[in-house]
Amino acid sequence: MGLPPVVAGLFVYVLFTHYGPFGSLNLLFTVNVMVIAQVLLITPIVVALTSSFIEGSSKPVIETAEGLGFSKFKTAALCISEGRASLFSVVLTAFGRSIAEVGAVSIVGGNIQWKTRVMTTAIMLETNKGNFSFALALGIILLLIAFIVNAVASLAVKEPKHD
């Protein structure tokens, strides 16, 4: 499940390099191509997790909905709303993978200051330069962002204990 990030980055790089099939779009070393690489990396994970969730826990929902004569659309909507906690954790996993990404985004983005440098690539660069305290500070901020997003999300999906 999921591609090795560096390989995915290399693949996107080849596609968007000057002589590549999409070279004329001039996207290499821009934020746009970083997004494309991230989508390529994350989509298989989201698809695999979502489909294993649907296969695992949506069976009784689907059967109950079909027994009540619900349309395909209403059944699908019901599966999403019934399984929203699991689907949320899929989204969080995807988010976690994305903000932790280094290899692919540095290959296609080029780590250009103020343009395509992100927190992870900045941490790598500053560590290599010996600026440990700066790298550490960035690391703590990144951790805090991840923690806050996770905390807010899990509060949002939590069902009230009593009605």
């Binding site: 009784p60 109950t64 079909e66 027994g67 009540l68 004569g69 019901l78 709303s81 009605d163």
Partner: protein, 217 residues
């Protein structure tokens, strides 16, 4: 009318259901009995359209409501569970009253006991009119009183709606009082078929006989 011809359900090498010919008249009520694994759920699912038969011809009515063997609680309280199935709030409340669940109406459905949840699931299935009502062991989680409540609720619904009823059960009460016809399945085949009293006193096959004596009525 519901008509089944040369129906077969095969998993791998195993034939779990084989019915050469079977008819259900409009407005009739039939109970399916038979040991675990005899094919009751398989037959009901095929009639409900949630399972594809391996072979055979089916004539089915327009609108079917089907209660799965496993009850499922949708998010939200009991009222919401029923309105989701297409009833307005008054109908939902009325259904909860007939199923003696009205005192729990604001509770979350996921907090119900097994027997309560099963009766809620039945409320949902009865939320709208239908031509064919398929109930797969509607009282498997109910105690004696719950079984009677379910039986009466189904009778009241049919008195108003005049639908065809097919339900499976292991309950002697439902088998004798639940329908005007009793079919006993054994290893995927019809072992006995007739009026409940007749089937229970004169089982047509050894298989049905051995099954019925287990009930000790």
């Amino acid at each position: 009318m519901i008509e089944i011809q040369d129906l077969k359900k095969i998993y791998g090498e195993r034939t779990v259901l084989s019915i050469p010919s079977l008819r259900f008249e409009n407005g009739s009520s039939t109970v399916l009995a038979g040991a675990n694994g005899s094919g009751k759920t398989t037959l009901i699912k095929i009639l409900a359209g949630t399972l594809k038969a391996t072979d055979g011809n089916l004539t089915l009515p327009q609108k079917t409501r089907y209660l799965p063997q496993q009850s499922y609680a949708f998010r939200g309280n009991l009222i919401k569970n029923i309105t989701l199935a297409g009833a307005d709030e008054n109908t939902a409340l009325h259904l909860l009253e007939t199923m003696e669940l009205a005192h729990l109406k604001e509770k979350k459905a996921s907090s119900l006991s097994g027997g309560e949840l099963q009766r809620l699931a039945l409320c949902r299935v009865l939320a709208q009119k239908c031509d064919l009502l398929l109930l797969d062991e509607p009282t498997s989680a109910c105690d004696a009183k719950g079984t009677e409540i379910v039986l009466n609720a189904v009778k009241a619904y049919r008195a108003e709606n005049d639908c065809t009823l097919i339900m499976s059960t292991h309950s002697p009460l439902l088998a004798t009082a639940g329908g005007e016809r009793l079919i006993i399945l054994g290893d995927g085949e019809i072992a006995a078929d007739g009026e409940p009293k007749e089937v229970l006193t004169h089982p047509e096959s050894d298989w049905a006989k051995s099954f019925i004596t287990g009930w000790k009525i």
